[in-house]
Assembly symmetry: C2
């Protein structure tokens, strides 16, 4: 992955495109690369060169958000202490953080929900995040805090499901609904 540094103009355009893309994502608009080009005052080909598909653009937009989640997870992990309640609390907090992030940043949802193969650029990031979540999960599970019917691989799907469910509910505040649903779900995930 040794990338030659971009030429000055190319870097400028890259940022402009990303900015426009971020704006579109935030307002929930569908991403059409020709429109992005016009809005960024850039040729169509320039957009397509940097981002061959809308998904590639969204992926790149989502990058920082994923990294933030990873850092969040890493900063809190090392304090070990596999006490049952603590390990559960740590897992729960990160799931809430993940749901909050997805509710806040619309670029995350499609990236998390997409199959691994569809997102070459973020595959490695997702891997790292999954590994962090997995560690938290394993600790909680080892401490006996988790229902044995739930596995590591279920965490991301379940988080996506929570966000999706909240977006189906015809409510103004999607984030609050998502938190509520996650709370209910976690009552089921927690072992009794």
């Amino acid at each position: 992955m040794t990338t030659v540094p971009l030429r000055k103009d190319a870097a400028r355009n890259w940022h402009r495109i990303l900015e426009v893309g971020r704006g579109l994502v935030d307002e929930g608009a569908p991403i059409q690369l020709n429109d992005v080009a016009r809005a960024a005052s850039v040729g169509v080909a320039t957009v397509y060169r940097h981002f061959p598909t809308p998904e590639a653009l969204v992926e790149t937009i989502a990058g920082p958000g994923i990294e933030a989640l990873i850092e969040h997870a890493e900063s809190a992990l090392p304090e070990s202490a596999p006490d049952r309640d603590e390990s559960w609390a740590a897992l729960r907090d990160f799931l809430f953080a993940g749901v909050d992030a997805q509710a806040r940043d619309a670029s995350l949802q499609p990236v998390f929900a997409a199959p691994r193969s569809a997102l070459p650029r973020t595959a490695e990031l997702k891997e790292r995040l999954a590994a962090r979540y997995g560690e938290l999960f394993d600790r909680a599970r080892a401490a006996g805090a988790v229902d044995p019917g739930v596995a590591r691989e279920d965490l991301v799907p379940l988080m996506c499901g929570v966000i999706f469910a909240a977006s189906v509910h015809p409510t103004a505040d999607r984030a609050a609904t998502a938190r509520r649903y996650l709370a209910v779900l976690l009552d089921g995930v927690r072992r009794r």
Copy 2:
């Protein structure tokens, strides 16, 4: 809603179109009305006349599935007896039935997940179904079997979320995963 009966040829075409549409839905293909027309040996305009959008076609395809769920619910409801465990079991069984149906019939998912306003044709059916689920829910709730943080209006979103989560999970058997997730979720919904 007094509809003039269709002319013989129109009815024939209508069925052909629906059949083709059902096939496409079953194989998970995206629905393009021009393709449907060709596959049904029918003019494009004929398809558009019956179904102005792909959603309208899916809606109609989903109709019988929704009706089956309604009947299922109605046939079991009247036996009243608001005993706590029984009312919970009835609610649970119908949620499982709903999830199973969605896993089996791909046309249901978009219809359930769509906002009321987007689906003029099925709005009334969805209403009826929601009313049935609502009754089951209210009975269970009145019997104290349900977590007070969950409301009637949450049932459909949560079911959609379960299906969505299962479809994110990279597994062969989506139906089984969905059932598993629903079981976990219901552990959280049930009052302890």
